[in-house]
Amino acid sequence: MRPLDAGLPYLSVEYARRGFLQQMTTGLAGVALARMLSDDKALASATALHYPAKAKQVLQIFCPGAASHVDLWDHKPMLEKFHDTPMPGADSEVTFQGKNGNLMKSPWPFIAAGQSGKMISSMLPNMARHVDDMAFIHSMTSRTNTHGPGCIAMNSCFTREGFPSAGSWVSYALGSMNENLPTYVAIQDVRGEPPNGKANWSNGFLSAKYQAVTMAAQQPLRNLDTPSVISDEKERATRDLLAKLNSQHASLHPGNDELGARMAAYELAAKMQLAAPKVSDLSQEPKHIHDLYCTNDSNNLKASYAKNCLLARRLLEQGVRFVSLYCASRASSVDGLLNWDAHKTLKADYERHCPIFDEPTAALLTDLKQRGLLNDVLVVWCTEFGRMPTHQEGTSGRDHNPDAFTTWMMGAGVKGGVSHGSTDDFGRRSVQDVTTVYDFYATVLKLLGIDHEKLTYYHNGAKRRLTDVHGHAIDRILVS
């Protein structure tokens, strides 16, 4: 039996459907073969791409709940100056949860960091060490002020469910670099799913093949383990028998490529059973690495997130194409408890969330850098929208602000120590080089070597794109 060859036609068929590669009819079989043999880590630079790829993999770090730009990344001296005065021209503005009060300065000072002197919240002392490698986008805007739609928009560019997430699009475009592991992994926080849950890593209308597989330090890959009652030897015999019966069946049914594909899938599943536990076995890491990430921190939530950071690095190292790493989860009965949604008590909330996020994330970036992984890995940090510069009436928290927020990128192909776009004096609105999620992903795709206007898939009457019908890559933050 030759399961690898048997799987080949099925992959080719899949390729033929990819609008963006339609013009490249030659050489496809070769690319598919390379992929099937899982030996081509350099696939992303294959000639079929639209641009020379700067990045091959993506690490997305997502802080759900609308992490406040004016309290973390976007320094607003005027906010300090005009603290507790009405925001000019916006008396009692009504936003998501209701009326707004006066301007409210960040509870913590900002400090200059790195060579670039980037001002960053003193709540992120460890992240501050990386600012010279980061490209901030301060002028992001969202089409919605609601968490769920906002999160899926930050993942799929659409506020409505049912569209593929960026990770799915990238999996669809570039395929796997290591067939023994999932192509796209979503690592959810120990506190639960982000707003809108699984729709954040949905394949939408793309084939289920492109949906994220969820795993985390606290949550092994589902159905991975052979039932304990079945010994290894019996399992081998089982696979042999299954392969025999299937190849016998296939020989009686020529002309059905799917039969071979399914046989190949069983082979890959067996390989995954070996590879996945290895990659998620954090005990393989030396003590100094655990210390770096703080996996043994006395704060359980921090330790848990730290383990997920470490898992993310191990997955990227093994060639997982797209890793989504979540820090915090969904809305709960108390705003700001489980995620960054600090409606009422911003100070208390962020004094919980920042320490969980800061040190492990910084450690992950340090570790990626020291291993040279940032040559291939593009790191993007996301949240669904920003927060108001004012406090919410009767509280010391901030309401939702879809008109301004910050994201950043670093790693493969990204200029360090730069900031793109800006908000007004208070951080209420993006005013200079206003940026959308379409621009954000046009940039991500460009770094991966893909023209975002050419990566398409027909669905219910339209050639769909990740970036809908919008978007321009932000060339200014890219290494030329």
Binding site: T95, G197, A208, G255, N256, A269, S332, A462
Partner: protein, 977 residues
Amino acid sequence: MLKSTFKLPARVRSSISKAIFHSYATIVTFVTFTISTQPCTADQAGDTFFEQKIRPVLIEHCYRCHSGEAEKLKGNLHLDSKAGWQLGGDSGEPAIVPGNPDESPLLASVQHLDPGLEMPPDAPKLPDNVIADLITWVKMGAPDPRTDVKIDAKRADKSWWSLQPLAKDFHQDSIDGFISERLRQQGLERNPPADPRTLIRRISYDVTGLPPTIDEVNSFVMACETDQRVATENLVDRLLASPRYGERWGRHWLDVIRFGESNGFERNVIVDNLWPFRDYVIQSFNSDKPFNQFIIEHLAGDVIGKDDPTVEIGSAFLVAGPYDDVGNQDAVAQKNIRAATLDDMITATSGAFLGLTINCARCHNHKFDPIPTEDYYRIRSAFEGVRHGLRTIATKSDRQAFEEATKPLAMEKEKLASDREKLEKEIEDRAKVAFEKLTFQRPKIDVHGTSEEFLATRAQHVRFVIHSVTTDATKTRLGDVRSGRLSEFEVWNTDNVNVALANYGSKAEGARSATAADFPDAYGPQLCIDGKQGEQWFIGSPAELTITFPQPELVHRIHFSNSKGRDLDESKVRGATPCEYDILVSLDGQQWTKVASSEGREPWTPAHGIERVRRNVITEEEVRQLKRFDRDISLIRLKIERIPKLQQVWAGNFTQPTEPTNVQLGGDPMKPTDIVVPSSLSVLNQVTPTFQLPVDAPESQRRLELAKWIASDSNPLTARVLANRIWQYHFGNGIVDTPSDFGFLGSQPTHPELLDFLSRKLIGYGWRLKPLHRDILLSQTYLQSSSFRDSAANKDKDSRLLWRFPPKRLSAEELRDTILMVSGKLQLEPAGGPGFRLYRFTQNNVCTYFPLDFHGPETYRRSVYHQNARASVVDILSEFDLPDNAFAAPKRSNTTTPMQALTMLNHSFILDMARALIERCGKELTLDDKITSSYGLVYQRSPTEVELTLARDYIATNGFENYCRVLLNTNELIYID
């Protein structure tokens, strides 16, 4: 001057889509054809004018964006050829109307008559004399010698094939005739008939979604030996009459109409009352309800079926999609959410019934099909009054019976409640008088920190008994502690150490009023002894916090707090704080002593004080009386509850819209433009009789008229789209393989005449599906074998022309149902009713769905009865492409992944079914008989000698259970010939 002369009528201008000049990037493989460009009749003067006055202007000002040389063509508009402006850009209208400057969008743009459409963009307006030349030129009839250019058509117009009336005369008179003719043209021929076993398996799955039993196979094979034709007819008739048919074909329809049982979006709350609609769909298929009737019921069942639940329930279709219920306070966001909610209904309706992507015309005229944006808002005007929600659906007599049964009880309850109220008032009045006389020695509690000191006492347990919290008495009944919160509770010993700390080794116990299933520590009492402010215990019932120290302590003070800084009054936002309480201590956890209380403190509010005094002034008799009232009232409430409720269905509610429907510029609800009235869609106005209602027509009439128009015999799309779906589910591919898109971007039919033939038949059968199924199932095309032939495949690899029956993979539901059935575990009853769940549902503001590791026997029902929540992922079904139904899934994907293999090998459900399978074949005496029996159950055939040998060898070392697990994983189980 020019402006006033040439100002276009508002209607015309607003119909000029901004899209003409805007750039859209999703351009696709074009179907190329040539716009007929007649050689210009010699109009020397016109040509000269063009060459001298017009061409230079176009080159200078327009070609940069609107010509073949443009670096990036804008708005798909070419101005470097006559054909280019005749065809127009994305708006779908010619850019110039010869002889009529007023109607020419290009002229409106150069004159800056419409904001946002000014051309050339980002440049000064063209000089007046240039504009005057352009006007003159258009008045002359726009003579243009540039006629030698071919343009790729990038859209359909009303001559598009699917918009034509159904053909009447056919040159074939059977399905086989059409198929054979096309095969002959390609030099192909049909396969010979399939063998009887293959046939019965194919037909059983196709019609019912389940495999036949081995007995059914055997008797069919025998019957075929006598007369295959008759045997097949009998088989088809038997299966079409089976209730399993509706479960299979109803499920197809649920895909088409994006049926899902949670509302999606952020909260994704499960919808528990939509299953009656699912049952309605299944029953409608089983009873072969005429489909035109079925369509009308979907859109207006409540209108035509008042008091007839079996009809009224159909309109739940409108609200079976996702919608956002997050409760946004922002007015703009609210409008956008409403627009998105209606968009879901419009998209579902146009896709399911008409095969049109009218939703693509929300922001501008459809870019590829002749659908003006007004058509989108015409449908919207019909749905403007639809709201998501529960509705009571019952017959008139049921309503009356319910009313009669409940009314006397309700009256009795009311009387008791008012008597109770009177007594309460008496007590409260006395309490008020007593309260007025009271003075308080101690201040009211402070939410930021309150201490109680007491004589040093030896204790290992301290209990905080909460009687009341600082709720607003006007909003909440005092004594209801469910809004209570507590950040910290400290107990200080005489060494001045807070011993109520987790890291001191103390424990905290107490009920909580909120939980988060995926985050077990949330809201718990342990948060009171974590030494940190911020996270709070949500006080539950009974409202008691018990702290246990590692060893007895000499304690003398407690301190509780519920907030952090004092900058703002955070008590308002952190829930209520305990304000009436007792402090009890105990050494052994059995005997408790009260050491302190809120006695003597100023009450939080006068109402709290009155509540406290009330406990003293109430007499024992009054306590008894109140209890009696409570008991009597709850008894009556129980009686009322025992009366069977009228059925509440997630079928939506309807209100008369108060405002007319406007076209929204760019799909932006904040930019309303022209008013549209409820009416038929212009896209079919040359084919299907039209209707038009007044702008304020009754809501119900709007939906009914639209429904009738869609379901009309003269609407060619409705019948074609339906006939195509039927064909698709029988053969795997439709005649048009984009089943909900019969527009330009969709596929063209492989057999256009056959499609019309089937559509005519369908209408001729009174829109009943079963006769059409029968025609298809009994055709030679359907009954042929699926054998593969290289020579044929070279010409038609995917067998779209049907030289063979295309093999299929089982759908997610078929696979799961088959495994249950062959293992003898499938429960066909109850066929309907509330669905089962393969996930655990939790709600904590938003909802989370956790897939189950173990599937209990209560889940052993047909998969169509699974309560399919959106954005939930369950084992087997999701992996095998059960659609999420955020969108309609008119054609399912067919995925093969390693994750499927892991689930099929390792999930406990498969092991359970393997065990069940052994039970079924284990009764046989010999091993060979057992193996043979398992083959009969799983594949409905006998094993070959080779297979028997393989099985014996394997079972000898690995056991029968593992063997059954293998069978359930084989390709033979999952692929059908």
